[in-house]
């Protein structure tokens, strides 16, 4: 009899203790979480003058294990510089490993604190360069 009651009492003891502790549940969305400094959220492209810093070196699509990045390079007709004419991330495929950031030789791609990525339509998960580039 005693053997049966003892775990039950122990359990209730823990429950009782928690009644007097600060709750861990976050009242999201009214309450916001504190995001760690190395959090890997939605990507963003750093800006350099009028376009993103990306030079279309293709290292991120090469290293990406989920194959979610599509880059296309183009040549600036005046300066002959290489830039990304297309930089798309299919966020549904992304596994947020951060390899793209690690691979980037020009510090163009970074990961932000944005984690609220839910959407209604599949198309809305395809992020284009325009959506990803930092606003001026």
């Amino acid at each position: 009899m005693f053997n049966v009651a003892s775990p039950l009492i122990n359990g209730l003891k823990i429950t009782l203790q928690h009644l007097f502790k600060k709750p861990v549940t976050l009242q999201y969305p009214t309450e916001r979480p504190i995001i760690g400094p190395r959090f890997r959220g939605l990507h963003a492209l750093n800006r350099f003058h009028d376009r993103s810093k990306c030079v279309a070196c293709y290292l991120c699509p090469t290293v990406c294990p989920a194959k979610c990045i599509t880059v296309e390079a183009a040549e600036d007709p005046v300066t002959h510089e290489k830039y990304a004419s297309r930089y798309d991330i299919d966020i549904l495929r992304c596994i947020f490993c951060g390899y793209c950031v690690e691979a980037c030789p020009v510090d163009a791609v970074k990961m932000t604190e944005t984690f609220e990525l839910a959407n209604y339509k599949r198309e809305d998960f395809a992020y284009t360069q325009e959506m990803l580039t930092d606003k001026k």
């Binding site: 030079v55 183009a74 290489k82």
Partner: protein
């Protein structure tokens, strides 16, 4: 042979080998930047430093040091690695290290070695170069800031291409790879320099930023332009052929390509490609399904029974040509089938067949460098088959081969060391060669065995009229020149004749080839290594088309008669597979009128060509990159073509189309694959016996010949010059091949439109400037073209390339060896 020890391994190599070669043969890798197996050793980069026991105290460059008996070599130790690292640090000191935006990244020797040797930081510091980048020419981008001064570009341009576009200029730290007067690059744009550049200093502009090297699939295939049969590596990504990739281990040419092979690949994914079948409804061609189009073709060909003819392009694979022949002869029941207008293959089908017993060249491309004397008929051999031109360059410059050019104009080959060009009057070739043969007979220089060859007496009898005096008069050469040439040719131990063929060379027909064969047989040159005659057929599979019997059968019409039959209404339906007669056959107006008259015209092509625009049904076919099969090159090399991409749009390979029609018309089951047709070819086509798909391997297989020699006397038709008129010679431009290269961006960037070339004196006489427009008029028609000023033509001789659909020179050209034209400045 020399014995030596490399890294404790016993190695035996030839005595002219270098340490680098010896190590390579033993499978030991020595890093290099400035060395290339095709070029003379340079010893510029010092990456290949090794330690030799007998020469201790300093490190020895492996690429320039010949081996000696008993050498003990170390290719890697602490000191060597330190020295190599220093070399890399010194190179990286000036190198911009802009790998993220450099197209060479991934295929860059400097990058790979830096990674391999772990050079992650540089103790040295200096400013980078600030050279201006050459963006002016359309094909090659020159960024001398990235240059590592290996000198490979200058060396390949000198040694193999023999153009000499580059040289080191300036001294010390200011030294750089420069062009003439440090101006923009203006050369023949073969791109050999781009292919050997170890870094990204020289890059392909059409491919710029298109893809990363590692992201491309590399597919080995065979070039589909000229008949040389160069092997290619195609860079493929996302079902698109993006570039050609250099592979120094490919083919007899060691990966060396010409301007059109390297830059002319864009036709494969051209936006102009046909993607659906088209059927004529009234005056317009409307899109249709394959079922509709093929049903219409079937009905109409059946209706026209007895009046069907076919023309095929020798760009198709052997399997397709074989199947086409079967479909036309067995299925449709017509013997009127031909290619290349009926005359461009005559040298093989008529002359070689009569004189040698087999319609192919007795010699192979490898004979060029093994010969003692090359007799090249027309300097155009370089323009029609540029990579064979490189072989001639190498033969002359490296092997000391004597070069004699018999031509109606000078050309690039005329500038080779020791080359002699005999510039004769246009159209007098046959007379000249008959004269040479006559001299050989009268001076008793002929080979002893020649007397026993069938037809000897008849030949000697026929040659009597070709006296030196008359020859000198008719050819415009001096009697001495002719006699010397005859003696040189007859006395040379090994002598090889090269004759380019093609639609633009109506004079290179059966009589000319026959006179050359008589000459070669007379001097006993056939059947020996480095000797004989090489007919350089124009298209990638011209030899294959001849082998597969794309020539009229018994009672059938040849190319010229098919066109005449169309005009007379005798031919009711014409099936054209890939040919573009409107542009490429002489006398365009007549061809157009003939094709307009045909009751039913089917054209199967990649593009809506000028000919396809006249068709009742247009069937979209596939390019070489989309199909499997074999091509037979000049010199009889049977090589495999690999499928690199999926068919564009709903286009089908010629094989698939013919297979369907063949099954429909004959009631036989269709063939399963091109390989099964190849099996049948091996069983039935002479020379292909015993060949299997796997036997072809990566280098192909040179199919054998068996020659039965015979003299066939030929009469020289005398070309009478017309006073006050110019002799117009048509030919091939270096950047183009047939009419296909018009759809490649690269060739069109350098040579976008037709022109007519004038000699120096005529320019003065007519008061012309480069780029002036001139009207060229002949009895056949008239055309307005750009004038180009050349130095290679003699007075009264004009040259024009034939490739272009717009302002095509074939409007003027009559199809005779020489067309007489009058020229006026356009108003």
């Amino acid at each position: 042979m020399v014995n030596l020890t490399i890294d404790d391994k016993q190695v035996t190599v030839a005595k002219d080998a270098t340490i680098y070669d010896a190590a390579k043969s033993a499978g030991i890798k020595i890093p290099i930047l400035c060395h290339d197996k095709k070029l003379h050793p340079f010893g510029g980069c010092r990456m290949c430093l090794v330690e030799v026991e007998q020469m201790k105290g300093r490190l020895i460059p492996a690429c320039t040091t010949p081996v000696t008996e008993g050498m003990i070599i170390r290719t890697s130790n602490v000191e060597i690695i330190k020295a190599r690292k220093l070399v890399l640090e010194l190179l990286l000191l000036k190198h911009p290290v802009d790998c993220p935006v450099c197209d060479a990244a991934g295929d860059c020797d400097l990058q790979n070695l830096t990674y391999e040797y772990g050079v992650s930081k540089n103790p040295l510091q200096d400013e980078k170069f600030k050279w201006e980048i050459d963006y002016i020419n359309p094909l090659i981008e020159r960024d001398m800031n990235r240059c590592v001064h290996c000198g490979k570009c200058a060396r390949i341009c000198d040694e193999i291409v023999s153009f000499g576009a580059y040289s080191f200029i300036n001294r010390g730290i200011d030294a750089k790879m420069g062009t003439a007067f440090d101006g923009p690059l203006d050369c023949e744009f073969c791109g050999s320099c781009v292919s050997v550049c170890p870094v990204g200093a020289l890059l392909s502009r059409p491919f710029k930023f298109k893809a990363r090297w590692w992201a491309m699939q590399k597919v080995k295939s065979v070039c589909s332009y000229c008949g040389t049969g160069c092997q290619l590596t195609l860079g493929v990504k996302d079902n698109k052929v993006l570039t050609t990739i250099y592979d120094e281990n490919q083919g007899f040419h060691n990966g060396q390509l010409c301007t059109r092979g390297r830059w002319g690949y864009q036709f494969v994914n051209s936006e102009k490609r046909l993607t659906t079948p088209l059927i004529r409804k009234g005056n317009v061609l409307v899109e249709a399904t394959w079922d509709e189009a093929l049903a219409l073709v079937t009905t109409k060909l059946r209706e026209a029974k007895g009046g069907v003819a076919a023309l095929a392009t020798p760009r198709l694979t052997n399997e397709e040509l074989y199947l086409f022949k079967k479909f036309i002869t067995e299925g449709v029941g017509s013997q009127s089938i031909d290619h290349s207008a009926g005359y461009a293959h005559e040298a093989l089908t008529s002359a070689a067949f009569k004189g040698l017993g087999e319609a192919s060249s007795p010699s192979v491309i490898g004979d060029i460098q093994k010969s003692d004397l090359l007799l090249v008929v027309k300097t155009d051999a370089y323009e029609t088959h540029p990579v064979i031109g490189f072989e001639i360059n190498l033969g002359v410059k490296r092997q000391g081969v004597n070069l004699r050019l018999i031509s109606d104009k000078k050309g690039k080959l005329s500038r080779l060391p020791g080359a002699q060009t005999l510039v004769h009057l246009p159209g007098s070739e046959v007379f000249l060669f008959n004269t040479l043969a006559n001299i050989i007979v009268t001076e008793k220089l002929a080979d002893e065995a020649a007397v026993t060859v069938a037809g000897y007496d008849a030949l000697v009898k026929s040659l009597a009229v070709y006296t030196v005096e008359k020859g000198a008069l008719l050819t415009g050469l001096s009697a001495e020149e002719i006699t010397t040439l005859a003696r040189e040719y007859a006395s040379a131990k090994k002598a090889l004749i090269l004759l380019p063929l093609g639609l633009a060379y109506p004079g290179h027909n059966a009589p000319l080839a026959q006179s050359l064969l008589n000459l070669a047989i007379l001097t006993g040159k056939i059947g020996k290594e480095g000797s004989g005659i090489l007919f350089m057929a124009e298209k990638n599979n011209s030899q294959g088309a001849v082998d597969m019997g794309i020539v009229p059968g018994p009672g059938g019409k040849n190319g010229a008669d098919i066109i005449n039959g169309c005009a007379s209404g005798e031919i009711k339906a014409l099936y054209i597979a890939g040919e573009n007669p409107v542009v490429s056959y002489p006398d365009r107006k007549r061809i157009e009128a003939a094709l307009d008259k045909v009751g039913f015209l089917v054209v199967q092509d990649l593009f809506l060509t000028e000919t396809a625009a006249k068709a009742h049904v247009v069937l979209p076919a596939c390019s070489f990159a989309e199909k499997e099969g074999t091509f037979t090159s000049v010199g009889r090399n049977v090589q495999k073509v690999t499928r690199a991409i999926k068919p564009v749009g709903s286009s089908r390979s010629d094989f698939e189309i013919f297979n369907k029609l063949y099954a429909e018309f004959t009631g036989n089951p269709p063939y399963a694959t091109p390989q099964s047709v190849f099996g049948e070819i091996a069983d039935s086509v002479p020379g292909y016996g015993g060949l299997t798909w796997s036997k072809l391997g990566s280098d192909g297989f040179i199919r054998p010949v068996s020659n039965t020699l015979r003299f066939v006397p030929v009469e020289a038709a005398v070309t009478v010059s017309q006073p006050g008129k110019f002799a117009l010679l048509t030919g091939s431009a270096l950047n183009h091949s047939g009419t296909l290269s018009q759809y490649g961006e690269g060739p069109m960037m350098v040579c976008p439109e037709g022109y007519v070339e004038f000699g120096r004196d005529d320019v003065k006489k007519l008061g012309l400037l480069e780029g002036d427009k001139v009207v060229v008029t002949s009895a056949a028609g008239s055309v307005t073209l750009l004038a180009k000023l050349g130095k290679r033509l003699t007075t009264g001789v004009l040259f024009a390339p034939y490739h272009f659909g717009a302002n095509s020179i074939n409007t003027v050209a009559s199809g005779d060896p020489v067309t007489w034209v009058s020229v006026a400045k356009a108003k």
